[in-house]
Every structure is written in structure tokens, then in C-alpha cells.
């Protein structure tokens, strides 16, 4: 059974696909927090989130006429955000090489309301290690371990078979433990 909420979402989506500005604004308002949170979990750098959110929605509105509804809109946006953050990681790597920064530490947030400095430092260590992982391993780890997706959702979001997501997550864990000096055993 289709609920009123589903109907409403479908109507807004169709209008946005036709280029209706108000409908696009509605979609942006509905999904921006979720996308922002996802991006923060993917890059670990609050100062990068604004620009990436904008990039994701520009890309999404550009591609929206081709969206056929095979996946849920949230899953589709997740895939776009994953691609955009992949570019961000690439540019970060290039920047670090240029600046010859040894550890690959994410840039300091300009305005971080979080009081817990220790937690932030630990997160920074994690993201510095994540920066050195191959894209696909990093994305699998983030989807499963940080986003908390189950295997089926992560498989849909990343467009990879379940067994591959499972393998990549495990491999990422192994490499992260080695980089962070944590003990690791497979089972």
C-alpha cells in the first residue's frame, strides 16, 4: 500500500525531475541533513561538508531527469555523495603530497563546538588512516562500520555485491588496525 507520504514524495520527485525549482528546494530541505551527516562521516572534516553538500545536490539535480526509481532516492543520493567524496579524497591526497604533510591529518575545523578534544583527536587518527586506504576499501568500511548499514543496504548503496562489500570491509579493518597499531585477528 502506498501511503500519503510516499505519494507526496513521488509528486515532489516528479516535479523536481521536470526542473521545478520549488520541488528541488523541498528535496534539498528533506535530504540535506542526512547528506551532510553522511559526508561528515565519510571525510571527517567539518569544514569540507558545506561545499560537498552543495556539489552533491547540484550533481543530483543535474542527473535527476535520468533517475528511474530503481533505487530509493536516499540510496541514489548516497551513491552520488560517495562519488563526490572520492574526488575530495583524491584532492586531499594531492594537496598533502604538495605540502609534504607527513601524517595526512584532516584540516582543523574552523568552528568546532565539540568540547571533547580527545575524541576529536581519535577521530582524526582514524580519518588519517582512512585517507591511506584504497577508495573501495574505505567506502565499504565507512558504509558498514561508520554509517552502520547492513550488508544488503551497503551493497545497494555502493553498487557492489554483498560478498565483495564483506570482503572489502574486512580487508579495510585489517589495514586500519595495522596503521593504527591495533591488534587484529580475522575471527
Amino acid at each position: 500500500m502506498v501511503s500519503d507520504g510516499d505519494d507526496d514524495e513521488a509528486n515532489v520527485l516528479r516535479a523536481a525531475q521536470r526542473g521545478d525549482r520549488a520541488a528541488q528546494s523541498q528535496l534539498f530541505t528533506r535530504y540535506r541533513e542526512r547528506v551532510a551527516r553522511q559526508i561528515l562521516r565519510m571525510v571527517g572534516d567539518p569544514s569540507a561538508v558545506d561545499d560537498l553538500v552543495q556539489e552533491v545536490f547540484i550533481a543530483a539535480f543535474t542527473a535527476l531527469p535520468r533517475f528511474r526509481g530503481d533505487a530509493q532516492l536516499g540510496t541514489w543520493l548516497y551513491a552520488i555523495a560517495t562519488n563526490r567524496t572520492r574526488n575530495w579524497w583524491d584532492s586531499q591526497r594531492r594537496r598533502r603530497r604538495r605540502e609534504d604533510v607527513a601524517a595526512g591529518r584532516p584540516s582543523e575545523p574552523q568552528d568546532d563546538p565539540e568540547a571533547d578534544l580527545a575524541a576529536r583527536q581519535q577521530r582524526d587518527h582514524l580519518y588519517a588512516a582512512l585517507a591511506n586506504l584504497p577508495d573501495k576499501l574505505r567506502e565499504a568500511f565507512i558504509a558498514r562500520a561508520i554509517e552502520g548499514m547492513n550488508l544488503i543496504d551497503a551493497s545497494a548503496a555502493l553498487g557492489a555485491p554483498i560478498s565483495t562489500v564483506s570482503y572489502r570491509t574486512r580487508r579495510a579493518e585489517q589495514l586500519l588496525c595495522a596503521a593504527l597499531g591495533l591488534p587484529w585477528r580475522e575471527s
Partner: protein, 238 residues
Amino acid sequence: MKPELPKAPDEEPAVLSPQLRALAQLARDAPAPPLRVDAERVHAGFLAARRARARRSAIVGGLVLAAAALVLVVTGLKLGLSRGADLSGHVAEDMSPAPASDRAVLRAPGGVAAPIARDDRSPDSSSPDSSSPDSSSDDPTNDPRALVRRADSLRAAGQHAAAAALLTRVVREHPDDPLARGALLDLAALLRELGRSAEARCAYRLYRARHPGALASDVDRALARLGPGPACDELSPR
């Protein structure tokens, strides 16, 4: 009073290391930053991107038209020269095969070339059915990781039957490997895509038997979509 049964885990843990799990939890709990971007800014960016795309399309379209015009001019010049040669009494004896190649090229007067196969096969004849499971028989290893990765490549190449054969090996030969769980779900989905519904049903049932609490609702939905079918002996329908 009956003892309370331990709740089945939802699925395999994403992270095995407790320390790394704690770090991942910290990352998950990071407070969302205040967003400065708004719908207006996104819309302005969207319009700018659209204008840039239109400019690029116009440039590319112009280049394509210019290239097409150049080809037409060159072809026209060649035709003109060739006709001129015919008119002057020369007979075109230019039907020579191309050297050292699988295909010969017959060049007709006027410069039109047609490829033909040396052994009379049609030029369009393709290789044997690449979806045959035999195409993976050169897989030298029985390591489940290698099998899963190879299955992924085959699947990406559209060789679903071969991918299913490898995943079947993971499920049958490495049932205790952590990868066997995901492989079983992938196998079930692949079999369903291949139209092998009875086998797909068996794969889902086997998953449910091996991992009763994990992703149960998704597996039950998949089974309901497949409908009723014969009993199974592990992965094989009876």
C-alpha cells in the same frame, strides 16, 4: 520459566576489533556541522553548471560538425581524383588484400574498403559463449577471497553463470569462512537473475537455515517473491 534464548545477531559484525569499533562509533557520533549552504545557493550552482554544460556541448558539437565537414571534403576530393583517373583510361587494379592480418581488405575502385575474414567466417562471429561456467575453469586457487573477487569480476563482465559457479564453490567448500554468508546471498540473487528460480530458492533457504536471525526479513521477502517450490538438498532442488 523458560530460559531466554540469546537473540540472533542481525548479521556479521561490521568490525571485529573492539578498539576499532570504538573509533568507528566515535566517528558515527560526531556532531553534524552547522550547514551554511541553502537551497538558493544550490540552485544558483545548478544553473551555472547547466550553462557550463551547454557551452561544452556547443563546443563539442561545433568540433564534430567541423570534423564531419572535413571528412566530406577529403572524400569528395578522393572521389574526384579517382573519377579523373578512370576517365583518363586507367583500369583500377587495386583489389589487393591487406598484408599479414586476420582479415583481408578488398579495396574497390573508388576507395571503398570491405573487410572479410580469411577463413570465410563472418566478421561479426564472436567468441564462444563467454557466460559458460567453463570459462572460469582456469582459476588456480581455492582461496575464498580470490574466488569472491573473481566472481565479482565475472559478474561485472556479464558472465553471471560463471560468477554463480564460483560463489557456489565458496558456499560449498568454505561454509565456515566469514565470506560464505555474503557469497550465499549474492549467489541467490544471481541465480534469480539467471532465471534459475528453484536453485535461487534453495540458496535463500540455505541462508535462512545457516543464519536464522540475520537479515531475516530481506530473505523472507526474496523467498516470497520467488513463490513456493520443491524441497532442497542444500543448494540443489530435489
